[in-house]
Structure formats: C-alpha cells, structure tokens
C-alpha cells in the first residue's frame, strides 16, 4: 500500500495516527520521575533570590546593602551598580529578536515598572538569600506612574479607507453602517491576565570552563541559547539549554527574560552553580502577561441577518519602550462574509512590564468582542445565533477573496449544537430556570490560524529495532512527546513502545518555538520526512539483489509490526534490512520547510531557525489561501436568582482541526482550553492599583482560577477534516483553539440567563446584582 495523505486517521493500515494512546511521558509525570529543570540534582549549588522594585516609575537613588550582606551565608549581591554594561541588549522577540522585553533591568538605576528586578541576592541557602533580600534597603526617586487605560472608554479614531497593510479593511464600513437597518455598537474589554503555570520561573546556571549549561523551563531552547549567548557576548555553541519538561508555559516561557543572564553572571562570579526559583508573586513581573484590551465594535446588517458593515477598533496596553500588540483584527476581519470592513489597533504605553504571548494572544480578546457583538446582533434580529453565523459564513477571506484551505465552522456548530441540545433552547432571556437558578445557554465561534514553521528532526533506527526521535522541540504539557512518537511509529510501522523521543535540549536539531500552535504540525512533518528517508533506505535494502524482496515493486512494500512486508506475504524485520545497510544504527536528519512558506522563509528559514530567531509561516496569509482551525462552543451557565452567583456546569466544543495525530492529548488540550475559557470569562483578572501601577492579587489565593467544583461536564468533539493544503500531514494546530470562543460563549449565556449584557470581563456576581 502506498502512503495516502488524503485521509483522516491512520495513513497506513493498522497505523498509529488517530489512535488514542496514553501520554508516553505520563508515568514519569505522575510518579514524580520527570525531571523539570529546577529539579536537576547538582552539587554545591548557591541559591538566588530576586529583589524587585516597589515603585513603577522613577529611579533608584541608593542601595543599603549592609544588613543584607551581614546575613549568614550571603555570597554576592548583584545590582545595577555592578551589573551595568555586563549584559548586552538583544532585540525584542516580537520584532524578530530574542527578548521578551527590551527593558534591561539592572543596566541602570531606571525603573520601568513595579516588580522589575533590581537586585539578585545569592547565598548558601534559599532561606538565607530570601532573608537577605528582604534586608536590601532601597531609596527611590518616585515619579507618578501611568498604570494603563484611564477610567473612561477610549475615543475612537476615524478609520481611513482603503486599508493600510496592518489594519485589514475593505469597502466603506462607515457609510454601510450608517445605512444599515440593524446595528450594534458597543465597547467590550478584557482584563490583565497572567499565565500562572504551576511550574515557576526558574533558572540554574552551571559553568564548566567557558561552557555554560542552563537548566530553565523554555518554550524555545534555541532562542534562549542564542539570546543568552548574545547577551553575554559568547559564542552560541558555548551555551546549552536543558529543558526536557516544562510545567506549563502558555507563552510565558517563550522568549528570553532578563533573569537568565544575571544567574549566568552570578554563577560565573562565584564559580559554582547558581539556582533561582522566582516566587509566585515575582512571576507576575519577571516574564510577560496578557495585557488588558478595549474594543469598539460596530456591526451593521440587513434585516435578513447579512452583515453589511463590520468595524473593530482595538486598544491594547504595552510597556513604555515596546510596541507589543496582538492585533486580533487580522482574524476578526476575515471571520464572516461582509463587504465593508474597517479595523484599527491602538497601543497605549504605560509604566508596565512588556506584555507578550498568552495562550491565543490575539484571538482571545478580539474574538470575545466580535462574538459578543454577533450575539447582540442575533438578539436584535430576533434570530438564532447559530443561524446568524450560517448566514454570514464564508469560505473565502472577505478582504482578499483568498479561499480558506478548509473551513468546517458550520459543521462544528451543527455537531456541537446537537450534542448540547440547543434545539430545546427558549431564546427569551430568563425563561429557563431550575429552582432558584436561572439557566442560560450561549454559543460562540472559535478559530485559530494554522501556523507552520521550519523544523528539524533526527530519527535513528538502532540495530535492535528501536527508534529514537530527536528534536529540540518542547512538550509544555501539550503532548508533543506522544504525538511525535506516534508519527514515527506510524511511518516506520513499529510498536509505540519501541519509539523514544528526546526534546527540550538545544544540542538537538533545531525546532521552532512552542507557540502559535505550530509545534505538532511542524515537527511531526519533520519526523515524517526523516522516517520517509529511512523507509526509502530500508526498502532499497529489501529489494536489493541480496534482499528477500529482490525484484518487487518498491511501492508495494509496506511497514507494520516492525517488518517490511510485500504483498505476496514475504516479510523482513527492520533490523535485518538495516543490517544489510551496514553496521550500527541508521539515521536520517530531516529539515522540514512548510509547504506554505513564503519565498523569503524558504530562503532564510533554516538559517534563522538555527540562530533561534522566531520564524513561522502564518496561517493568516499562506500564499494563495488562508488556513485556520475552527470550532463552535456551547456553554450552559446558571445564575442564582438572588445572590447572582454564576456557575458554568456544562460546556460542549466541536472542533475541526485537520488530522488528529494523538486524540488523547489533543482532547486534553481542547478540554484545558475550554476550562481556561470559563476561567477567563468568570474568574481571572490581575487587579491593578492604578495609583501605583502595581498588581494587588498576585498570588494563587487571590488570582482566581476554577477549582474542580467549578467544572463539571466538558465535552470535546472532533469534526473530521481532511486538508493537506495546510501541510503534508494535514495537521492543524489546536493547542490554542479551545479557549478562544469560550469568553463570548459564557457572556452570551449570561445574557440569556439574565437579560444582562456584560461586556467587560471577568463577569462577576456584582455585575448582575
């Protein structure tokens, strides 16, 4: 049988694709044997503790270090006074560089934001370092900070048509809006949020001569390696990053943060390993976060529901020096058929750390706004919200007319609606009750661009028939280990137990950042390419003159159960065929280049990947088409008639995301996304004291995420989808798909339960009293 790449599920008969298998690293994780970077045993380690700024804007006038130095066991204290000029600047990640922020703490006395690192205390024990850190005295010159948005809604600015490249637009949205018989115009907002991965931000640095080894949880080990090397002015090949397990990243561990270089320098000064585990509170300011956003949406429609005008203006907060924005208008502008579209994104600079990626950075806030507005429009039209989506569904980008490679949004809606029981919904708000509880049902669209990146992988077949997959990719809890093992098992026809996978080490072949939901699509294709090369060599050996399948058509030879098989029943083990190719293991190193890569990426992609630079072909503009994964999410909320407590006991999501390599881990990803979506809609917000531009609920007791009692039925349905335009294996990433539509689905359900439209997240009971 030849490899057919046009079906969902296994490629070969009895193959592994689409088979639900347990996470291959699951046992290690649940038994505690998985070695997370800060768990690595090490002799003679000194411990670092960060001192962070009490003020958001100003200068350090003086340090008083005597008391801190006097603490028993203190070895060294780093401040700007001894670190100035020691760390070179590197470019901003979002601008094509390495750093999560261009703010360089401890390069001068300047304070850019509250919680900025201002000193690092190193001591014999964690306890001594912590005690001394509290004794570091600081005199500040304080300036009044700007915390973010003002209290009033931002003023819209005229949207100029036709479009600039960065603000997608078409037609004349303003004119069409003015003429529309049915209109919606409203502001929406989303709050500051933090990743709060269970694993904290840790860094352990060990020098051996001029060789630096860094144990740090990372979503991009090649980026970290190259970035730190530049900061320290040493050759990248002198730096090794080890990060085999990451206890949650969500974007917070994607780009280089300031801490790493300081720990490396501390280890150098002391000539011994130094380990930092930043505290939970510090986690709110030493890496990035999801900044708060505001949106003004205007929708105009015919009375039959057809959109005639869509405009979306977004406002985002960034730090003083960095122009970070997520600009989800790129997606909201192409979501529905509409002849007149205008968009604009504004950035407001404040005395804050630089925001950055957090699970579906662009889609989460922007889709919340547009999908809430779509629900409002459905209400205004007296139309079922699913039907409104159907009427405005599109198979092409309404601005460029480029087709979607595939788009099964309405199949997702119909599948999820059926599973949810949507047909029995009474659309009148407040009409469905259960005792003291008002029941609300709401739905929304989810989508995420199918990004694909250049990636490398090495696959080795050992003489004993075992297979080793190596790539500097990352399993941040997503299931990458499992998906890659499945891919190798599928292509080489070996049992899954015979495949081992190595990830998260910068000495392995370079792989892209675990971000933008590209990893499975990119690295599985690289592994598949390497396996195909091995197959080719093995088949060549089998059909060679001294092989058992001599004279057979090589295309007829298949791989299963660790054997090469011919149609006539002949077979040979991989080991035997491999032995004929020579002694020892045989290996293949593949460099995968996305099919959708632009000419430029094809030219420089591999080199950039090797340098650890961000490089990815975006699903939002994949040459002659655009490519997205879609989903539809349905939520039931219950609002207590009197106390207005809000619960979300039931959620159903149906998703079309191309070929599902590993259904067990894919389901976990989507389920986690749905739960996070409920969390973002009802619970999560980093609260800010605007007087001081300082967070107030920066710990897990006060930063609310749902507990088990908050989450009951979560149903994930895969809608089969066959799309090999996106990449050879037909994989659409889904790590960031699940939590995109949930915010709006919950808000829409709350409206249905109560008749109250809450446009500012999170929705809390006092909004409904």
């Amino acid at each position: 049988m030849t490899i057919s790449e046009s079906q969902v599920g296994p490629i070969s008969e009895g193959g592994m694709f689409g088979k639900p298998v347990p996470r291959i690293d699951g046992r290690l994780k649940v038994t505690g044997a998985a070695c997370y970077p800060s768990d690595t045993p090490m002799e003679d380690t000194a411990h670092a503790y960060l001192v962070t700024s009490a003020i958001a804007r100003g200068k350090i006038k003086a340090f008083h270090l005597e008391d801190a130095k006097a603490v028993d066991g203190v070895l060294d204290i780093l401040t700007w006074e001894n670190m100035k000029g020691k760390v070179r600047s590197v470019r901003f990640f979002a601008g094509g560089g390495y750093a999560s922020s261009t703010i360089m703490p401890m390069s001068s006395s300047k304070i850019w934001h509250a919680g900025q690192i201002i000193a690092v205390v190193i001591a014999e024990s964690f306890e001594a370092a912590r005690e001394a850190a509290y004794k570091v005295g600081v005199d500040y010159a304080v300036n009044k900070p700007k915390a973010g948005f003002d209290e009033s809604r931002p003023q819209p600015r005229p949207m100029t048509n036709p479009l600039t490249r960065s603000d997608p637009a078409t037609g004349d949205a303003e004119k069409a809006f003015a003429a529309a018989p049915v209109k919606i115009e409203a502001y929406y907002s989303t709050p500051t949020q933090h990743h709060n991965a269970i694993e904290l931000f840790s860094t352990t640095c060990v020098w051996s001569g001029d060789q630096l080894t860094i144990y740090e949880p990372s979503q991009y080990v090649h980026g970290l390696k190259n970035g730190v090397a530049r900061q320290l002015g040493i050759k990248p090949d002198k730096v090794r990053i080890i990060s085999p397990f990451v206890g949650g990243g969500f974007g917070g561990k994607a780009a280089l943060t300031a801490r790493t270089a300081f720990i490396a320098l501390a280890a150098q000064r002391l000539n011994r390993p130094v380990k930092l585990v930043a505290t939970r509170k510090q986690a709110y300011t030493v890496s990035n976060f999801r900044a708060e956003t505001q949106h003004l949406i205007k929708l105009g429609a015919e009375s039959n529901g057809q959109l005639t005008s869509l405009s979306h203006e977004g406002w985002e907060v960034s730090s003083r020096p960095d122009e970070y924005k997520v600009a989800g208008t790129e997606t909201t502008a192409v979501l529905y058929a509409c002849p007149n579209i205008a968009t604009r994104v504004n950035v407001i600079h404040a005395d804050r750390s630089t925001p950055g990626f957090m699970r579906s950075p662009a889609e989460v806030p922007y889709i919340f706004a547009i999908e809430s507005a779509m629900d409002e429009l459905a209400v205004a039209l007296h139309m079922d919200p699913v039907e409104l989506r159907r009427i405005n569904d599109t198979q092409i980008n309404p601005i460029t007319d480029a087709p979607y490679s595939s788009r099964a949004l309405m199949t997702c809606y119909d599948t999820a609606a059926k599973a949810f029981g949507w047909a029995s919904r009474n659309p009148v708000p407040g009409s469905m009750t259960d005792g003291d509880w008002l029941i609300g049902w709401g739905c929304a669209t989810s989508c995420y661009p199918t990004n694909v990146a250049p990636a490398e992988a090495k696959v080795t077949l050992a003489p004993n028939g075992s297979v080793r997959v190596q790539s500097a990719g990352h399993d941040i809890g997503t299931g990458a280990y499992t998906a890659l093992a499945i891919t190798a098992a599928e292509f080489l026809g070996v049992p899954l137990e015979r495949v081992s996978v190595e990830l998260g080490d910068s000495t392995l072949p370079p792989a892209p950042v675990a971000g933008g939901s590209n990893a499975t699509a990119s690295i599985c294709n690289a592994v598949a390419d390497a396996c195909k090369e091995l197959r080719h060599r093995l088949v060549t050996a089998a059909v060679a003159s001294n092989g058992p399948m001599h004279g057979l058509d090589r295309d007829m030879i298949t791989f299963s159960d660790g054997q090469l098989r011919a149609p006539d029943g002949q077979s040979e083990t991989l080991m035997a065929a491999s032995a004929r190719l020579g002694f020892g293991p045989i290996e293949a190193h593949a460099k995968y280049m996305p099919e959708i890569a632009s000419k430029t990426i094809k030219l420089v992609g591999n080199a950039m990947l090797g340098k650890g630079l961000p490089i990815m072909a975006s699903g939002t503009s994949a040459g002659d088409h655009i490519q997205y994964a879609f989903g539809a999410e349905f939520v039931e909320v219950r609002v207590h008639r009197r106390t207005r407590e809000i619960r979300a006991p039931r959620i159903v999501g149906a998703f079309a995301a191309g070929r599902i390599i590993s259904p067990t881990t894919a389901r976990s990803q989507l389920m986690g996304g749905l739960i996070w979506g409920i969390s973002a809609a009802l619970h999560e917000a980093t609260e800010m004291d605007h007087r001081f531009a300082r967070y107030v609920n920066d710990d897990l007791a006060e930063y609310m995420v749902p507990v088990n009692a908050d989450i009951q039925d979560v149903e994930v349905i895969f809608v089969p989808e066959d799309d090999t335009k996106v990449n050879a294996l037909g994989i659409k990433g889904l790590g960031e798909l699940g939590n995109v539509g949930t915010n709006a689905a919950v808000a829409n359900a709350v409206y249905h339960a109560t008749g109250q439209r809450i446009r500012d997240l999170p929705i809390r009971l006092e909004n409904l009293l």
Binding site: A54, E127, R130, E131, Y134, D436, H640, R641, R642, T643, R644, E645, R647, L682, H683, E687, M688, D689, R691, F692, R694, V696, N697, D699, A701, E702, M704, P706, V707, N708, A709, D710, R764, L765, E766, L769
Partner: protein, 318 residues
C-alpha cells in the same frame, strides 16, 4: 523568613508564661496562617511556642449541656463530630465551607479564630499598611477594595475578618476560654474577642500578652434550622465575599451573623429582632452605619439578597 527559635510547650500555663516572657514570641498551632505570613516577612516572630502537644484536642460535653472544644481540635475533626453535626449544624457547615480539605486537616480552632486579614496590601510588604506598621497608612483605602469590609471599619483599616468558623461561633454565642501567663483563666464571649480597628488596627483581639486560648465552649443547643450560606467567586476554596449564618426557629425568630463584611464576625442583636419584617429590615439594621468603598458597595445588596435566599431556604419567608 527570619531565623527563629522554637520550643514545645509542656503545659498551657507554661506556654502562656513563656510567651509573656519572650517578647517577639508567638504560638504556633496548625501553622497554616502563621507560616505563610512568616515566609513573606509579614510576621517576624523571633521565637515559636508549639502548642500542639498540650492535649487540647478534645471535644467534651459540658455539665450545662453544651460542648467544650479544645483549642487544638482540627477543623476537619470539629466539622465531622457527630454532636456538632447534630446540635450545631451551622458550625459544621461553616467549617466545611472554609479553605480546603488539606488545610482543614491542619487548621485548629484557636488558629482559625485568630487568622489574620487577607487584605492584599497587608500581604504586600512594599505597600503601606497600618496592621503591619502602625501609623504608616492604609493602602487599601482608595485602592483595590472589592473584598474589604463595609461595616465596623475605620479610616485606619478596612480589612474584613476572613474566618467562616468564627461567624458560626458568633451566632452560637461561643465562649473563648484562655489561660494567662500567671496561670489564671478567663472566659471571653466571642463577641468580645475581636476588636474593631479604630486607630489601632494592629491590635486585633482583646487577648493579653501571652494569653493562650485553651478551648471554645458552646452553650446548650438551641435547636432551630441552621444554615450557613457562603457566597464567593468560585464554587469552593475561596474566602467569602459575603457569608450569612442563620438559626431560624419555628416561630420565625432567630439569629443572624454575617461574614466578609466586617473586621470581626458581625452580629447585631437588634437586627435579629426585625427578622419577621424580612431580609431588608434585618440588613438595614445589621449594616447601619456602613461605610463601603465604590468597589465593595455591592456587598450591601449582596447581604440582603443572600439573607433573603437563606430565609427562603429555611422556609420562614418566601
């Protein structure tokens, strides 16, 4: 965390005496509150006196027909005690609504009563707080105050008392029994244990230096329907935005105490007298003189609504 010395007390009186003699010393029971605060250098005791070995972990019937709960009885054990569940259901429910199973296994009766404020500014040593540094100022005033108290507050402090158990005990008229450094004992009605902040919010109770809680006594059961309703941001494992404890008798009379709204478990006997008039009348009396902030004004409505839900559940009012 600052270095400290540690001892295991041999008797309640010895513990009280040691504490009075060594300024900067603290009792440690379950440690679930004290240790967290020590790690953050909010509490910086120089000496810890461990009271876990003092055999104060029993629940005994009193001659008056009540229960005497040892200061070291764990929250889990207290909530599960058959007598508590039968006669003081309010207490059991309040306990089970607090913290998590793991924490309740460690948390003790005395420690729970004396747990400190959950005000985020109290927890941030880079902010001003009169509880941490008397006279320095209160950053919560004019700041993020969604969870803070609305009644009984002062210009010096608006922190609420976080305990659920204490709210039930207040409704049950519990008596706190202590041993003083000189070996004498004292009985303090729970209404008098916690102080309002006034201009000394750092002085949270009426306990004297070294005074050790040895037990909490519940008077004879009073029957009635016991309901504890805790309203919070998620279904479990969160402090109350508002909690309402009621004991309603068949004739419609009863007791009401509320949590999450004041610096101490809040009960106003005059408000209870208005129970027949309904939730609004009770709430008006209960929260008379409230001084909410813009962010926590919703608590006034929430108390009334929760009380209304609770009275409906008790079947005494629609």
């Amino acid at each position: 965390m600052k270095a400290f010395t540690y001892e295991r007390a041999v008797s309640p009186a010895a513990a009280a005496q040691a504490a009075a003699h060594l300024p900067g010393s603290k009792f440690i029971a379950g440690g679930t509150n004290l240790l967290d605060l020590m790690k953050l250098q909010i509490e910086t005791p120089t000496h810890l006196i461990d009271v876990n070995g003092l055999a104060l972990d029993r629940i005994e019937a009193t001659p008056e027909g009540g229960l005497r709960i040892g200061a070291l009885v764990r929250n889990t054990d207290l909530a599960a005690d058959a007598r508590v569940r039968r006669d003081y259901g309010l207490l059991s429910r309040a306990l089970l609504s607090g913290a998590s199973g793991q924490l309740r296994n460690k948390a003790t009766t005395a420690g729970n009563l004396l747990q400190r404020a959950r005000c985020p500014y109290f927890y941030d040593t880079d902010q001003l707080c009169n509880k941490r540094h008397p006279g320095s100022g209160c950053a919560a005033l004019g700041g993020f105050s969604r969870q803070h108290a609305v009644v009984g507050v002062s210009d010096s402090c608006i922190a609420s008392h976080p305990s659920d158990m204490a709210v039930a005990m207040r409704a049950l008229d519990a008596i706190v029994e202590t041993v003083l450094p000189d070996g004498s004992t004292r009985s303090i009605p729970i209404a008098e244990l916690h102080r309002l902040p006034g201009d000394t919010p750092h002085i949270e109770t009426t306990l004297g230096a070294g005074e050790l809680i040895v037990a909490v006594t519940l008077p004879k059961p009073i029957g009635g329907k016991h309901i504890y309703r805790k309203v919070r941001d998620r279904a479990s494992y969160a402090f109350a935005l508002v909690s309402v404890a009621v004991i309603v008798q068949a004739d419609g009379s009863g007791r009401v105490a509320v949590g999450g709204v004041a610096p101490k478990p809040w009960r106003v006997e005059a408000a209870e007298a208005r129970l027949p008039e309904g939730a609004k009348a009770v709430t008006d009396e209960l929260l008379a003189g409230a001084a909410p902030t813009r962010e926590n004004a919703y608590k006034l409505t929430l108390v009334e609504r929760t009380l209304r839900a609770v009275l409906a559940e008790a079947g005494s009012q629609p």
